[in-house]
């Protein structure tokens, strides 16, 4: 991966000026490189990583992983079916899988009922869906490389030779 992306992936707020310093390049060059990455769709958007484990009480947000078995459509394969699934705003991630099921769908809802009604009313009855298995997430420890707790204070002494 290019180094600009590596830096932005860790810190979306790194400015072009700062990135330019880190890479010993001109700020304008970094700016235009970022523009191009945005234009090409390599950089989709800039988001904030929120630790919802802390907000859980007030937000009451639950997440479930749902295994979905499909009957592929003639000429269309799985892509078309996947599209019908991932268009739902409740779906936060959607993957085509190898193994015993076809789609892994991550669904987020206010509570267990919203998620289960989504599964029973929207997902399971869909044409070509042969079956679903729903796993609710009980606790999140780490997500996309981020450990979901405050980092511990460094144990290094403040000054050493």
């Amino acid at each position: 991966m290019n180094e600009i992306l590596e830096i932005l992936e860790k810190d979306a707020r790194a400015t072009p000026e700062e990135i330019a310093r880190m890479l010993n390049q001109k700020a304008v060059a970094v700016k235009s490189a970022i523009k191009k990455l945005e234009k090409d769709g390599v950089i989709l958007k800039y988001k904030t990583v929120i630790n919802k484990e802390i907000l859980r009480e007030e937000n009451n947000c639950v997440r479930a992983l749902i295994e979905v078995k499909l009957t592929p459509q003639k000429n269309l394969g799985f892509d078309h079916l996947a599209e019908r699934v991932y268009q739902f705003p409740e779906v936060t991630s959607c993957y085509l899988m190898s193994g015993t099921y076809d789609l892994l769908v991550v669904v987020e809802g206010k509570n267990i009922h919203t998620v289960s009604s989504f599964v029973s009313e929207k997902l399971a009855p869909m044409e070509n869906v042969r079956g679903t298995v729903t796993h609710f997430i009980l606790k999140k420890y780490k997500e996309d490389g981020d450990i979901l707790k405050q980092p511990e204070k460094s144990k290094r002494p403040a000054i050493t030779l």
């Binding site: 810190d11 700062e18 310093r21 002494p157 000054i159 030779l161």
Partner: protein
């Protein structure tokens, strides 16, 4: 109780009081740390934990566990093409610090002279003294990137000169040598028939060219004691483990001293080190890329705020000049600490030539580096010290 005159005469670390000041203060952003800001990779820690569960709690062979010595030998072969026999040319030591002490105790006779760069790491001079030797300091200059030249060697050698201590990349200056520069140096070293103690603990943090161990150069292996360890590259400072590679008669001598003073390196550290060598390369490369970016950022900002700084080739230190402020290193560091709560190390900690400089460690997160440099900028402009 009366302590020995030799120990009494070793200069105490003059900056101890300053260190105590730093350690007693809260919310300091510290750029004064001589160790990585990464915690040892989990696979390495996990291996040590597991080894304790398995009951690895005994002494090991004095030289270090055979598996570890084999791994060190293999690692050096793969990485640099070095040929050190695990049986009698490698000794596992309690960090490079012990390796360094053993080297000098093994080669120095009373009255021998040893060439030491100034500025350099704090322990070199005092250990030479403890061994009954005499340090002859080579003052290195920023104009030359704080490097020793062949002329320096010629100029400082006498009939009594036995050895030279090299440390590259260097703590505190970050200076390192390209292969070409090392070839020139080694020619002078051969001509003067010197032993080299080569402390290459920061070798993996070399940014602009490939690190060359001195002992790969022609005719150098037989006169080099190669010291390295796990502290910096694998972020394992607290494990206290390193290794020395040298001709077998030297390793045999060093092993004798090691046997009587240290017995062996703690077995859990040895177990962890085996894992580091087997599966640690990925984290080394990640760390290096991160440090390189921080280096570029810090050097560029330092020069911008008026503290001129050469670009160091390695380690994680910047060594900017503070001469434009007309303060001494100690005054600068103390005032910066009191006024802006940023800790740096006065250059004088590393020898008299460090006067007019400070050591800044960029082994801190980008976020902290940004904030610290903003504070330094404010400190300089508030006091109208901008060069």
């Amino acid at each position: 109780m009366k302590i020995s005159r030799t120990v009494e005469q070793i200069p105490p670390s003059g900056i101890r009081a300053f260190f105590d000041l730093v350690l007693g203060m809260k919310d300091v952003i510290s750029l004064g740390v001589g160790e990585p800001d990464f915690v040892t990779a989990w696979n390495i820690r996990e291996r040590a934990i597991y080894s304790l569960e398995e009951g690895y709690t005994s002494y090991t062979s004095n030289k270090g566990m055979e598996e570890l010595r084999r791994e060190v030998s293999r690692y050096l072969k793969n990485k640099y093409g070095l040929d050190y026999d695990y049986e009698d040319e490698i000794l596992i030591t309690v960090g490079v610090s012990e390796g360094f002490d053993l080297s000098l105790r093994t080669i120095i006779e009373k009255g021998d002279e040893v060439l030491v760069t100034d500025p350099s790491y704090v322990s070199y001079g005092p250990i030479v003294t403890l061994c009954g030797g005499k340090s002859v300091y080579i003052k290195t200059l920023p104009g030359n990137g704080f490097k020793v030249t062949p002329q320096d060697i010629n100029k400082h050698c006498s009939k009594k000169t036995k050895a030279i201590i090299l440390n590259y990349p260097s703590n505190p200056t970050g200076a390192s040598y390209s292969r070409k520069e090392l070839k020139e140096l080694s020619a002078a070293i051969r001509k003067k028939n010197l032993i080299v103690i080569s402390d290459e603990i920061y070798c993996d943090l070399t940014y602009d060219f490939e690190h060359t161990p001195l002992c790969v150069l022609p005719d150098m292996k037989k006169r080099t004691i190669y010291l390295n360890g796990f502290s910096k590259a694998f972020a394992m400072t607290g494990w206290r483990i390193g290794y020395a590679c040298a001709p077998r008669e030297v390793i045999a001598g060093m092993t004798k001293v090691h046997q009587y003073t240290m017995m062996c390196v703690p077995i859990m550290s040895q177990m962890a080190a085996i894992e580091a060598l087997k599966n640690g390369e990925r984290s080394v490369q990640e760390m290096k890329r991160e440090y390189k970016r921080r280096r570029e950022y810090v050097i560029s900002r330092l020069n911008e705020i008026g503290l001129s700084c050469h670009k160091p080739e390695g380690a994680f230190y910047a060594f900017p000049s503070i001469k434009s402020t007309s303060l001494t290193s100690m005054e600068f560091a103390s005032r910066l600490l009191k006024e802006e709560k940023v800790a740096v190390v006065p250059g004088t900690a590393f020898g008299p030539s460090g006067e007019g400089y400070i050591r800044i460690s960029y082994a801190s997160s980008m976020e902290k580096l940004k904030e610290a440099l903003a504070r330094m900028e404010r400190f300089l402009s508030k006091n109208k010290m901008r060069g």
